[in-house]
Amino acid sequence: MIELKNISKSFNGQMKVVDDLSMTIEKGEFVVLIGESGCGKTTTMKMINRLIDPTGGKILIDGKDIRHMDPIALRRNIGYVIQKVGLLPHMTVGQNIELIPMLKEWDKQKRKERAEELLNLVGLPPAEYYGRYPNELSGGQQQRVGVARALAINPDIILMDEPFSALDPITREQLQKELLTLQDDLHKTIVFVTHDMDEALKLGDKIAVMKDGKILQYDTPEEILKNPKDEFVEYFVGKDRLWKTPELLYAKDIMSKKVITVSLKRSPAHAIEKMKEKGVNTLIVVDKEAQQVQKPLGVVTRRELSHAVTHDFTMQDLMNTKFETIDESMNMVDVLNFMTEKKLKNIFVIDEQKNLVGIITQSSILNVITEAVTDYEEA
C-alpha cells in the first residue's frame, strides 16, 4: 500500500507543482494519474521512488516513511517504465533486462533464466530477441523490453510514466491489452501516468484526475464518467466519452424512468384513457398502481385493448405475460444485442430485487442518442 500524505512540491520556492496532495493506493491496485501537462502527475509519481523529494508531507510504503529509506534500495524494489523506454543502446536486450539483477549480483544462470522468462511473458521469444540490440527493435518491442526490465527483480510496485504515448495506436492498444492480461496474473501495485483519458478508462482500477497539483477526483472509471465532480473533470472526461465506451453505459443509464403502470383490475376503457393522457402506447400491468415498488406482471398495448373495450374484461385477462426483463446493470452493447436477437421493441429494466425501475424502448434509445449528439455538437 502506498500512502501519500499532504505532499507538496515546489521548485526553487516557486509555485507549487504538487499542492497538499493525499491519496492511498491499495496493494494490487492499478491507479492512473491523469491530467494536462504541468498538472503535477509525473512529479507526484516520481516522488514515490524518490526521483523527486517532496518539499512537504510524507509518503509511506507499507507503512514505512520512504524518507528514511536508501533511495537506491527503494528504487530497486520499484519497477520503472518511461515513455522513451530508455534502454541502454550499447547493451543487448538480455543485458538490459539483467542490468539490475547484475548490480544485485545475482548469479549468471539465474539472471539469464529470469530474462528469458520475462521475454516470454512480454511476447518476445528469447531465442530471437535475447541477443538483439535495442536499435534493432520497433518502438513497441522496445517498450515490451522496458516492461520486462521493470519486472526483472519482481518488484511489488511499478511506476509507469506515459509508457505507451509514443507508440502508434494499434501497437498502443495491443500493449494496453497485454498489460491488463499481465496485471491479472501478477497483481502488482501500478501507478500509471497518462494524459490520455481513453487509456486511463481502459486500464485503471481507479483514476485520479489532477489539475494544478491537486487531485480533483479520485474514483473508479465509471464514477468519473458518470458523476464527474466538477466542470473540469467533466470537460476533461469529455461529454462524448460515454459514447466512445458503450460498455460503460448500462441499462439504467439509457432507460426511461417514465413507466406508466395499470392495475390488474382495471378496465380497457380506463387503460386507453390513461394511454391518451400520458401519451404512450404501452402500459405495464402491475399488482397495484399506487405502489412505489412494483413487479411487472404483463404488458398491454393500445391495439390489443381497442378490440376489447366493449367486453367486460380486466387487464388480467388481456395482458401479454410473455415479456422480457433485463437487469439494470446490463451494458448497452448487450442490451442492444439482446433486443435485436429477440426482436423486441421494448424491454423492462428491473433491479436486483426484480422490481421494475424503467423501460427501454426504441424511442428511449433514440432519445439518449439524440441528446448525446446534441451535446457533442455543442461541445
Binding site: I72, R75, I82, G86, L87, L88, P89, H90, L103, G146
Partner: protein
C-alpha cells in the same frame, strides 16, 4: 645532395628526433586525458561551469607558444618539461570539449531509466554515460593527438628537440632539405596516428550504436 640522399644521411637523427617527438606528444596527451576527461565529465553536470572551463581551455589554445615559453622558463626551465606543459595546455580543449559533448549528449531518457531503476550515480557514469560517450571522447583524443603532433614542433624552440629541430634549422638556414626532413616525418607520424586512433575509435564504438 638531393632530398633522399639527405634523408638517408640524416636517418639516425630523424629517428632520434621522431622518438623524442612521440615522447613529448604522448606525455602531453596522456596528461591532457588524465586531467581533461574528468574535467569534461565534471562540467557536464553544470552548464555554467562548463562555459567557464571551456572558455579557459579556449584561451589556452590561443596563447602564442613563444609567449608561453617565455613566461614559464623561470618556473619550468627549458627542455622537455615546459614543452610538455605547453602542449598539454593545447591538448586540453578538444578532450574537455568532446568529453563534455559526449556525456551531455547521452540520451536523457537512458539516464532517467537508469536512475529510476536504482543505479547509483557512479554506476550510471560507468555503465551508461562513459560507454556511450566513449567514441566521442576518443574522437577528441584523436583530434587532440593529431594536432599535438603538428604543434609539438614548437618543442624545438625550448630545447626539447623533436622533429621541430630540423624544421627550425631548415628555416633559419633556408634549407628545404632540412625543413622537409622535419616536416615529412611529422606529417607521416600525424597521419599514421590518426589512422590508428581512428581504428581504435571504431573498435570501441558499442555494437548497438553502429
Amino acid at each position: 645532395m638531393n632530398f633522399f640522399e639527405f634523408m638517408s644521411y640524416r636517418m639516425g637523427d630523424i629517428l632520434r628526433l621522431a622518438l623524442q617527438h612521440m615522447q613529448i606528444t604522448g606525455m602531453a596527451v596522456l596528461f591532457a586525458i588524465i586531467i581533461g576527461v574528468p574535467t569534461g565529465i565534471a562540467i557536464s553536470r553544470n552548464a555554467k561551469t562548463a562555459n567557464i572551463v571551456i572558455g579557459i581551455a579556449n584561451i589556452f589554445q590561443t596563447l602564442p607558444s613563444l609567449a608561453l615559453f617565455g613566461l614559464i622558463i623561470p618556473i619550468l626551465g627549458i627542455g622537455i618539461v615546459p614543452s610538455i606543459f605547453v602542449l598539454f595546455l593545447y591538448a586540453l580543449l578538444p578532450i574537455i570539449k568532446n568529453t563534455h559533448i559526449g556525456i551531455s549528449n547521452v540520451d536523457a531518457s537512458v539516464i532517467e531509466a537508469g536512475k529510476g531503476m536504482g543505479m547509483k550515480v557512479s554506476q550510471i557514469l560507468r555503465i551508461v554515460e562513459l560507454p556511450l560517450a566513449l567514441p566521442v571522447i576518443m574522437g577528441g583524443i584523436r583530434i587532440s593527438t593529431v594536432i599535438n603532433i603538428g604543434t609539438a614542433t614548437i618543442a624545438a624552440l625550448i630545447g626539447a628537440g623533436g622533429l621541430g629541430d630540423f624544421i627550425f634549422r631548415g628555416i633559419s638556414m633556408a634549407d628545404n632539405n632540412l625543413i622537409l626532413a622535419g616536416a615529412i616525418p611529422t606529417a607521416i607520424l600525424a597521419l599514421s596516428v590518426d589512422t590508428i586512433l581512428g581504428l581504435v575509435e571504431k573498435s570501441i564504438t558499442p555494437k548497438g550504436l553502429k
